[in-house]
Amino acid sequence: MATLFKAKSEKLMKDRTMKGEKTSIKGGADESTPKGPKNKQRVLILSSRGVSFRHRHLMNDLEAMLPQSKKDSKLDNKSKLDVLNELAELNNCNNVLYFEARKHEDLYLWMSRAPNGPSVKFHVQNVHTMDELKLTGNCLKGSRPILSFDSSFDESSHLKLLKEMFSQTFGVPKGARRSKPFFDHVLSFSMVDNRIWVRNFQIVEGEEDPENKGKKKTSLVEIGPRFVLNPIRIFEGSFGGPTLYENPHYISPNVIRSAINAKRAQRYGNRVDEQNLHKEKLRNSTLPEDPLDSVFE
């Protein structure tokens, strides 16, 4: 028993030293280890104050999906976001997902590579969390996802950059702490209507196909969460710096709301116009005198 324990602890020590070697500033590849390059990522997840319950649930869902993540408490300061870089450093994180709520209804998502950037700001729309009973799938907590990208992510520079950032932030690195060594879900990113639609599916393997033996029929069941990311800008730095990309199709929800208000206001204006026109019409249109009116007088 004792020898067994000794052997095990030795192995552990060896592993630890190997990991120490692997740790690099960029969190990327390091060729010096005998095992070859390794993907090391850690994600800091946090939100601003004033998130609604739905936003909070979305954040919790993402946290449940990412075993390499570290959740931090809500951030109070909305104007100085560079604090986040320090926070990431404190937590040994090289990726940050920051949910910024505005006006208690609009949700923005910052995805950043701390501390040097780049960073992206998204507008999050159409949020459905895992709590919804319509989404019937389930998967292991901390199992590694297969990241699926739409073909358009290979076409333009900004989408290629986004793809890289998504795959490093949402992909669970091999052998990450608390992760499970199996694959039972697919996280898909699709570019439709100039937005990025995110879906999470469970991989269900059914009975063996009678036609081709040995192959199981694969089908998918949605787990959730589902949401749409509308990219607004890409910055060179982390939470700031010069803009590299602006989305021409993006319209701020504030503009939409004000347009609705304007339209509502316009309804009254229209009505007043109509009434004035009618009055004018009445004033201008006098009946021609009828010669028959005075026949019997």
Binding site: G28, M65, D131, S143, S148, D150, F201, V255
Partner: protein
């Protein structure tokens, strides 16, 4: 990040420079008083939009409306040269950044990224390039297909890397959704299924009822026809008989009919004959029977009237006076009414007597 930069998403889209901003504000003031045609057009557009609205498309519809409005505002101001907003796109910088952060020389198993192949240009299948965003079903199907393809490729890749793909059946670990939550999902699914089943059953039942009614009607019709046939037969037989003249020869043949249907064999006018005899003697199904109201009416008649005159029903008749049914001598003698105390109840003994009894 400074305050100014934070605010860009509100303002910069309308116009980057401050001068443009002003111009738009100026344009806005007279805007509600603009021509009718334009506003009407917008209203029409709105109607269409609202028809399309469902939960996820609402925002896009509104965005479209807002875009249109912005465009119209810009088009309506030709006197000042319209400034086109320039959107930044620094492709080469982004490429360089990507190069820098990319994970190079990593085996696939470290990242697990699958990028779909672009669909062939002439493909007729649902693909993300051509899918209609507002069509929820096809859109989700496109996502599903993309993910499914990735899952299959991913599985092959994982297995070729020598890593187990799916977990063994006896591997239990914490799931993303709790058992309780999954129970709720299952319950809901079951409820949905039973609801569908019930609806289908009800539909079937309704169909059956409809069909059953038809059958019943047909049966009634058939019965009526049979009856008619029978009557015709009788008529024709009678005709034959009357044509024979005296009828003495064929009377024997019809005796059965006479018993059954009660008409006078000798008379030509058999209807009148039947009526004359009245319902009292009319056999089952006979024509001479007095027409009876329906069962419901009969019950009601019995209950509420229509059973002859009610006058004098309560008067005594000789019969009722002679009827001694309810009379009992015993009753007449007992009680406080006139009769003696002979048959009365045993009286309670006095107090002293009772106490003596106790001892």
């Amino acid at each position: 990040m400074s305050d100014g930069e934070n605010a860009w998403d509100e303002e910069s889209l309308i116009g980057g420079s401050s001068s443009e901003e002003e111009y738009i504000l100026d344009e806005r003031k007279p805007w509600p008083k603009k021509k009718k045609a334009q506003s009407k057009e917008e209203d029409d557009d709105d109607g269409e939009d609202e028809a399309q609205l469902n939960d996820s498309d609402e925002e896009t519809a509104l965005e479209l409306a807002a875009l249109e409005r912005l465009q119209k505002e810009k088009e309506g101001s030709t006197q000042q040269e319209p400034k086109k907003k320039k959107f930044l796109y620094l492709g080469n910088v982004m490429d360089a950044l990507r190069e820098e952060m990319e994970l190079k020389d990593l085996p696939w198993i470290e990242t697990c990224v699958v990028v779909a192949k672009p669909p062939p240009a002439d493909s007729t299948e649902i693909n993300l390039q051509t899918v209609n965003v507002n069509d929820d079903l096809t859109r989700e199907l496109a996502f599903y297909n993309q993910a499914l393809e990735a899952a299959q490729i991913g599985k092959a890749n994982v297995e070729s890397a020598g890593v187990p793909f799916s977990r063994p059946d006896d591997y239990f670990a914490e799931m993303v959704k709790s058992d309780e939550h999954m129970q709720r999902i299952r319950k809901k699914l079951l409820e949905e299924q039973t609801a569908i089943k019930n609806a289908e059953e009800a539909k079937k039942q309704r169909m059956l009822k409809k069909y059953g009614k038809k059958i019943q009607q047909e049966k009634l019709k058939e019965r009526q026809e049979q009856k008619k046939k029978m009557l015709d037969k009788i008529d024709s037989l009678k005709q034959k008989k009357s044509n024979n003249g005296g009828g003495s020869t064929s009377i024997d043949d019809f005796t059965n009919f006479d018993d059954q249907f009660d008409f006078e064999v000798g008379s030509d006018n058999e209807n009148a004959g039947g009526k004359k005899k009245g319902g009292a003697a009319a056999g089952p199904g006979g024509r001479g029977k007095k027409p009876q109201p329906n069962a419901k009416r009969q019950v009601k008649n019995k209950k509420y009237g229509m059973g002859g005159k009610k006058r004098g029903l309560k008067r005594n008749t000789s019969d009722s006076t002679n009827d001694m049914d309810g009379f009992s001598q015993k009753k007449m003698k007992s009680g406080s009414f006139g009769g003696g105390k002979k048959g009365g109840k045993a009286k309670r003994p006095g107090k002293s007597a009772r106490q003596k009894m106790r001892r």
